[in-house]
Symmetry: C2
């Protein structure tokens, strides 16, 4: 059995290395590649991905996993070996259920759909994207069918991002959350709006970058194992557990974009860098799920980066860097400004209170599209109606409405709910940490982030993908993913900011 575990790890290392190589090619494409390289790069990535799929669905892997499944029954089920075999088997079973023909077809359709979507969004022309969306919906429904029987057609899609989680669980959480959010936003809307005009002054890119680097260096981002570059859309990518890179984008006339984006991506990177190094080159060297990943990015972006103690510490520094823009402001006003709550059109720019409503709208639409109770052609109108219903505003065009996000164009149905779940989990973890290490606000006020990072590492990061997300949250906090802590957090925070 020793031999078989060893051989399994060799095979998993090979597929993990291929996946890392593909990630390097993808990162380079978005960060460095001259435009002329695009077609060849597509072919190079396709070759690597195709070999990756062959290797990860090879009979030898299946046979080893079957033999080892019996063997690990005698081990502690939470031991690294037992979990490695379990996670590898889960991945293998999922991948082998999907015919190669489907994988190729889906790759082809989604690649074309993405470039069509880019142009469609630019021209706010839903009709040109519609046939591609229809094809993708059809393909994702086919995909779900490979995993029959299921309780809900959306379950297999969600499971790709939140292993083990069911649609019904998410719906229940959202049903509790929704009325509380709506009530909070209504209460805020009746108060005087805070000033945030100073966020739209002119802020030179170089100074923004320097401040971001200063902040995330204090968070604990290790530049010997990472770097920051520019890209059209910010993202984090890892090439193994020792090289985890982030990207950002700058708007010189809107300070929050790069500032909070940098903290956000740093949160993702700190997670990957904190995973047990023994898991390197295995499927455990990954986040537990997208929601857990998002809990980490939101932690540094919102719970820390948009907190009063954070700005009490950092605002004087920010004033030094931008004296003409911020010289006459105080930390309190700045803190309130970066937390202004206001229904807005674009999800990625939404505040903490309205953000989750953007997600709920998308989940409802995805479920309806997958169930077949809504057709793609009706999506723009349904979007606008729901938007009015949830946020009280109607998008002026589809570019700012149904076409705004990239996710559907790559067939990523099932992804959106993880953003909202991540927000909830972040606060659950924060409350638990608070109960264990005392007064984190004091640490933030002094920019002493190490005890906070250490707590996250020991309780969350180190485990990598060893546990499913619900298991992990249960293990750390004592309960499953729940909206209550998040609601408490919002009501307290915005109660103070808006004097509710």
């Amino acid at each position: 059995m020793e031999e078989k575990i060893k051989r399994l790890k060799e095979l998993l290392a090979e597929t993990t290395n291929l996946r890392a190589a593909s990630s390097v090619l993808g990162w380079d494409q978005l960060v460095n590649m001259p435009e002329g390289g695009a077609a060849d790069r597509g072919e190079q990535i396709a070759t690597i991905e195709s070999i990756h799929h062959q290797k990860s669905t090879a009979d030898e892997v299946g046979k080893l996993l079957e033999d080892l499944a019996k063997y690990v029954k005698d081990l502690n089920p939470d031991s690294d070996e037992a979990r490695l075999v379990k996670v590898a088997k889960r991945d293998y079973d999922k991948q082998t259920k999907v015919p190669n023909k489907y994988v190729v077809e889906f790759a082809r359709v989604s690649t074309i759909a993405q470039s069509v979507w880019e142009k469609a969004k630019m021209a706010s022309d839903f009709e040109s994207f519609r046939p591609h969306l229809e094809k993708l919906i059809d393909l994702r429904r086919q995909y779900a069918d490979f995993f029959k029987p299921w309780d809900h057609v959306y379950d297999p899609l969600l499971d790709d991002f939140e292993p083990g989680m069911k649609t019904k669980e998410v719906q229940e959480i959202f049903n509790t959350l929704r009325p509380r959010l709506v009530a909070l936003i209504k209460a805020i809307s009746e108060k005087e709006q805070v000033d945030k005009s100073f966020l739209s002054y002119e802020y030179p890119e170089k100074d923004q970058r320097d401040f971001g680097i200063e902040v995330i260096s204090k968070f604990g981002y290790d530049w010997k194992h990472g770097r920051q570059d520019k890209s059209a859309h910010p993202f984090t990518t890892s090439f193994g557990l020792n090289d985890v890179r982030i990207t950002t984008r700058f708007k010189e006339d809107y300070l929050p974009t790069a500032m909070f984006g940098t903290m956000h991506e740093c949160g993702h990177a700190l997670y990957e860098l904190g995973i047990n190094k023994d898991y390197n080159r295995t499927p455990l060297a990954d986040g537990a799920s997208m929601a857990i990943h998002e809990s980490q990015s939101r932690w540094w972006e919102n719970l820390i980066g948009r907190s009063q103690p954070f700005w009490n510490h950092f605002f004087p520094r920010l004033q030094e860097i931008f004296p003409s823009q911020l010289g006459n402001l105080d930390a309190e006003t700045f803190f309130r400004g970066v937390n202004a709550v206001e229904p807005s059109l674009i999800r990625v720019e939404a505040d903490e209170a309205t953000y989750n409503l953007h997600i709920m709208l998308r989940l409802e639409m995805e479920i309806a599209l997958m169930e077949g109770s809504m057709e793609a052609k009706d999506a723009p109108e349904a979007w606008n109606e729901k938007f009015k219903d949830y946020l009280g505003i109607i998008p002026p065009d589809d570019a700012q409405g149904v076409l705004q996000d990239v996710h559907w164009s790559f067939g990523g149905f099932g992804y959106f709910p993880t953003y909202a779940l991540g927000n909830l989990v972040s606060v659950q973890l924060w409350e638990k940490m608070e109960s264990e290490i005392g007064n984190p606000e004091e640490l933030v006020l002094n920019a002493t982030f190490e005890p906070i990072l250490v707590w996250l590492r020991e309780n969350v990061h180190v485990h990598g993908a060893k546990y499913e997300p619900q298991e992990l949250v249960q293990k750390v906090t004592g309960s499953k993913i729940s909206p209550e802590p998040f609601i408490r957090y919002l009501e307290t925070k915005f109660g103070e900011i808006y004097r509710l």
Copy 2:
């Protein structure tokens, strides 16, 4: 047969894509990678290279090539299809002659040797490198033996860089060249040295970079298919024929390093970018040999970049950029300064006249080491003796002597002669171009490089690896690689500069 050609191209595209992926990983390692990523990157590249080796030596490839070899006999032997099969078969035969066990062993030994060499060079400590050099010599002799029978043990090594070329041919060329070079250098040494002190003033990196970009943009480097970054040692790399990148390094107290380095790497890149796009993702999408590649880099660096008309055009611009450093100089003085001939220790910084002597010394030593008539332990002393003999100076330490170049540390015996051959070929091609397009100096004087680039494209670049180097030179110039044009060029150029 149509089917078989199609299938062969599919398989070759797959291996070419893998090689490109490996190159992206290698480029990133030298340009971007945080130091913590090194170990994982090694594993990732090893995985890709191992799959590349398996795929390129697969039985299916061998069988297809055998079948197609018969088929292409009926084609024009210079047709693309016939040449593709020929080159693919040559590569396949070479690769399959080398046992996988050897490939793994050589990779292991040379990886370690490179890192030992780096430290040994830093400490000028040959003894620590010696055992690794001995192993590498032994391994390269084993390698040569896989290709028996041969005329000379050095032939199979040379053939990896100069397909089809024999040791004897190179020796004959060098035997003609040597006395003429020695005589020229002696004549120069009896004249008054030109002033070059101004090259060592302070030149800010940013301005150096801007000037370099301006020059190579005029050469015709296409930024939609390339980019320039910094690295410890400059190099050119291509990820297919549509993304060919260069790197450079800057010395703020020595202007020529980045300036001529940038033109040099641009020459390599223009070659790759000029290859027939129909060859993309096949083994024909490559230079004909290292010597032909070097002829292209030296063309732009020396024949153009170190020429009088070039500086008559560009020196006023350089003065604009560096007014305090160069304001009082004239183009003639600058031109003479960048062409100063002087025996020096370091090959990569040698002038055009002495450069090839550095190469001859290395070739003699490599041949003696491979033949076994010299042992590794005697290399430092032999180096110093030969150095005194050729260049009249003795290296003060091994760091500036036998340890100066990286090539032996990765087992690259056979590589050095290509540098000298490249110098010769560049002038042969220049004379041919001159006879066809009239007055290239006039074009250079006006910085109108397009007709020059077009001539290179049509006569050299477009063919890629279709012809062997000697075939190509014969085809373009009407004779094989020959030292006469190069000697004529040097004697004329330095005759004027030094008033011989």
